[in-house]
Subunit: 299 residues, 2 copies
């Protein structure tokens, strides 16, 4: 199976878990509809897939079932961040994945609360990885700490704050851009891999490999995103193409050109692959293919 199909079938498993997890939770109807609208709007489910794959590569055969609630929580966090980023006070985006963004489909108050709800439910889901699925509580708590740090004010939330400050301002240095992206998108992708390793009960060396792999593909992923915003059309992207430039956002292509951006993305994929050399088997193959696939999208 090609990587794209593999990704798709793994995403479908995550999707059906998410669907079931959101059911019958005593959530007011409109709020529930708003949360589901964004959570089940498709997407690659990259973060949960990374958590599951690292856990499966390093852990026992049955680990993925136990890790699933934790993996799914990463998609809740990712989705909440998209909902809040799209708000009028933030990026003011009307479209997300080809559909009206959450506050356009519902309203601003509901969109803020749907984001808050998804973020909070995420930590509830994480706890069930131990309480319901039986993973050791200390592993799950360590993973919660890692994820809270990655998603919080010194990670993803902080990255969005820095992005808002940089947007529309005067020229941004490459180093500023790198740090902003490392916080805004890199931290959560890195944590996805690291938590997979932590939850499988791995050694510190394995956990470090997961973290470094995640960091490297996180950078590659962001550069490719910047490139696609320049070279794609609106239909392919599911959001307005060229919106970064229109918003006055600094991008890798704008700062160092298209060719150098591609080369930089490729270098980071190579770094990610180096972190996989000590492993073998199907999951090793999947994680290597996934790293290559990120950058292949722009060729």
């Amino acid at each position: 199976m090609m990587i794209k199909e593999q990704l798709g079938s793994r995403a479908a498993v995550v999707e059906s878990y998410l669907k079931a997890a959101m059911k019958d939770r005593g959530i007011p109807a409109r709020l529930h509809a708003s949360m589901e609208y964004s959570l089940l709007a498709g997407g690659k489910r990259l973060r949960p897939v990374l958590t599951l794959s690292w856990a499966q590569m390093l852990g026992e055969a049955t680990i993925t079932d136990a890790v699933m609630p934790f993996a799914a929580s990463l998609e809740c966090i990712h989705t909440y961040s998209l909902i809040h980023d799209d708000l009028p006070a933030m990026d003011d985006d009307d479209l997300r994945r080809g559909k009206p963004s959450n506050h356009k489909k519902f309203d601003e108050a509901t969109a803020i609360l749907a984001g808050d709800g998804l973020l909070t439910e995420a930590f509830g889901l994480m706890s069930t990885a131990s309480i319901v699925k039986g993973l050791p509580a200390d592993r799950v708590l360590r993973a919660i700490a890692v994820l809270a740090h990655a998603a919080g004010a010194s990670g993803m939330v902080g990255g969005q704050a820095v992005d808002m400050e940089l947007t529309g301002g005067t020229s941004v240095a490459l180093e500023q851009l790198r740090i902003m992206h490392a916080m805004k998108t890199g931290a959560l992708i890195t944590a996805a891999c690291e938590c997979g390793a932590i939850l499988s009960g791995s050694t510190e060396a394995d956990i470090e490999n997961a973290r470094e792999y995640g960091q490297a593909i996180g950078v590659a992923f962001q550069i490719v995103d910047d490139i696609l915003d320049v070279v794609s059309d609106t239909e392919t992207l599911g959001k307005p193409a060229g919106s970064d430039e229109a918003m006055g956002k600094s991008t890798y292509p704008a700062l160092i050109g298209l060719d150098k951006s591609k080369a930089l993305a490729r270098r980071h994929v190579d770094s990610a692959l180096e972190r996989l050399t000590t492993y073998a088997g199907a999951e090793h193959q999947f994680l290597a293919d996934l790293a290559r696939y990120i950058v292949d999208r722009v060729y």
Copy 2:
């Protein structure tokens, strides 16, 4: 010491822990300032104080130091909810505790992110109650699950969504008002007590007493809040008096009158006191005085 002074001195301990906990966390400057602005803006610190007191009444002598990060996390969650509730898309409040609300002092985007940051950091703090302070991981995970449920879409966040739906609409039944408040403010106060009992390693019977005590004072607290909005002036409240009525919000005094509201609050305080009859000592006295103090504020 009178209950008001006791509350004040306990709040000061929580405040100084919160101040230290927010330091040197690699949070972008403006976001950090915004989070601190609301988190350290005073307030009774009722939720952390409840967690600490229940833990101390039921646990070992040294338990409060270990429970402190978890207790402090409740104030982070409470503060984030106030910041988001004040936003223009929600209650559109310009004042909070006598000072400009977060989005007035900073801006809307920063206020949204400060709330997101505080909510996420809260779960990081909870995990350190085990990772740094050594509480058993399974206790902390159970408390995290309770708190995520209470603060999430079927609890506090859901309550705000229901409140938005009810505001300005046609007449609201007392039962709808009760359910909305139970979600919006009751759930977090209840969880504060329950988590204190859980973290101290108590029996299920003790945990139930903590939960029921919390539920009862939560209802009393909300009724009193409604009453104060009617009978107080703006200076005492720190926000515009009569704003509930102006916003078209249903309140207990509006639905059942002032006298019946006071009597209802008192009945709930009595229920709370019943849950304390099997305990003794200084913390028992404090929790009983606190329950009485809530309703005494309106006499």
